[in-house]
Assembly symmetry: C2
Homo-oligomer: 237 residues x 2
């Protein structure tokens, strides 16, 4: 009843995009009846460091530490090594094979997720920043393939790219999809150019969806979560 052994209350990873441990704790307490997986990104980690991660983990929740390490392999290995025993389930890294391998070689009980192309990059950025004429999706697939081959447990990829990843890359790797918006609102797209709804993402092959602002800003967050979880459950059938 739980595809891939992932309970429904872990499918939505709530992004704690706040600037203090106090605000993060308030949000966790408000949402934890329904959500058991939280993302700690750069902002909150800088504000609260490991104590806030530990606080979340000690309440029995999982933590995705989304620091997007992108440094030379030896530094990434040592950085990931610092996560030992800190209650982290997922950690994110950018980079090519030696970087992903270094993260995996840190040899700790944390799953390494590779970021392929940030969701803020659209097609027009490919030529400008990467100097490429290829499509975003092609770069995502190629980087994902190399990351999985290098030992990554999963890929952070937009909902638009997940279906292609599932088609072109076999194996039991995870897909985590940020840039999710509720189906029912016209919430702004913010910085994220490649966005879908939770149901679309899961149907397209995502295992987890990352949602922050839409839930935080909702008048009735719990009811929005329930709607999204129903949508996810339906998509998994």
């Amino acid at each position: 009843m739980e595809p891939k052994g992932i309970p429904l209350n872990e499918r939505i990873i709530f992004a704690l995009d706040v600037d203090s441990a106090e605000q993060a704790k308030k949000l966790v307490k408000r949402l934890e009846s329904h959500i058991r997986f939280y993302k700690v990104g750069l902002q909150l980690f800088l504000a609260g460091w490991f104590p806030v991660v530990k606080w979340i983990a000690e309440r029995g929740h999982k933590v995705m530490l989304d620091l997007k390490f992108y440094d030379i392999p030896q530094t990434v290995k040592l950085a990931v090594g610092q996560l030992r025993g800190k209650g982290v389930t997922f950690v994110t890294v950018h980079g090519n094979e030696p970087i992903v391998e270094a993260a995996v070689e840190a040899g700790i009980d944390v799953k390494v997720l590779a970021v392929t192309v940030l969701t803020s990059f659209g097609q027009e950025d490919m030529q400008n920043f990467f100097g490429l004429r290829c499509k975003v999706e092609e770069m995502v697939v190629e980087r994902a393939r190399r990351a999985i081959d290098s030992g990554a447990a999963g890929i952070v990829a937009s909902g638009l790219e997940a279906p292609r990843l599932r088609r072109e890359l076999e194996g039991d790797y995870l897909i985590i999809t940020p840039g999710i918006r509720p189906a029912v609102t016209d919430a702004g797209r913010d910085d994220q150019k490649r966005i879908v709804t939770a149901g679309q993402a899961i149907r397209g092959g995502a295992d987890y969806v990352v949602v922050g602002r839409p839930i935080r800003d909702a008048d009735a967050p719990i009811s929005l979560i329930e709607t999204m979880q129903e949508e996810i459950a339906t998509s998994l059938q």
Copy 2:
């Protein structure tokens, strides 16, 4: 007598690549008679967070916080915003124009340095990871140009690329060069593929050089620093 107003004892930024605040403090105490600028990277920041940065800054030294932020613009802006009042002089980011602009827009008194291409990337990685046939140096120049135009105060670039940056990009931006090895040893190249000596880097247009292991592992670190500083002073004339 001090080109660009940078004292000689700030030209070498010592990389505190250690895994505890205690080790970092020991190194700072050992070197601070000669070096007044320290780099705190991912490993040490995860181990010691802002208290270790503050400790260094309160001894009157400068700090380059080398966390290489690479996330969507809004997240980078909020992350850089967390550095307010923390004693940081330089912070590093990866990324395209919106990301660099976001870091600058955080509007705090910290200089934003853009990483162009990690020194662990060699020519053979360009095709494999970026899908490019262009040379590393071309990508470095193009990314540097865009970063400077977006408000970055400087560029992190290897000593091999600094001369080309100075030739092709006008302005008073800073160049900070990692991957430095002493002229007099055959120290291993480690992960860094594009390396030069301190004198070569400064002659080629670098303002600062980042040095870690060669000084840390030297039998006589102070004498090695003095040699490197003489080399730098000569190159500046």
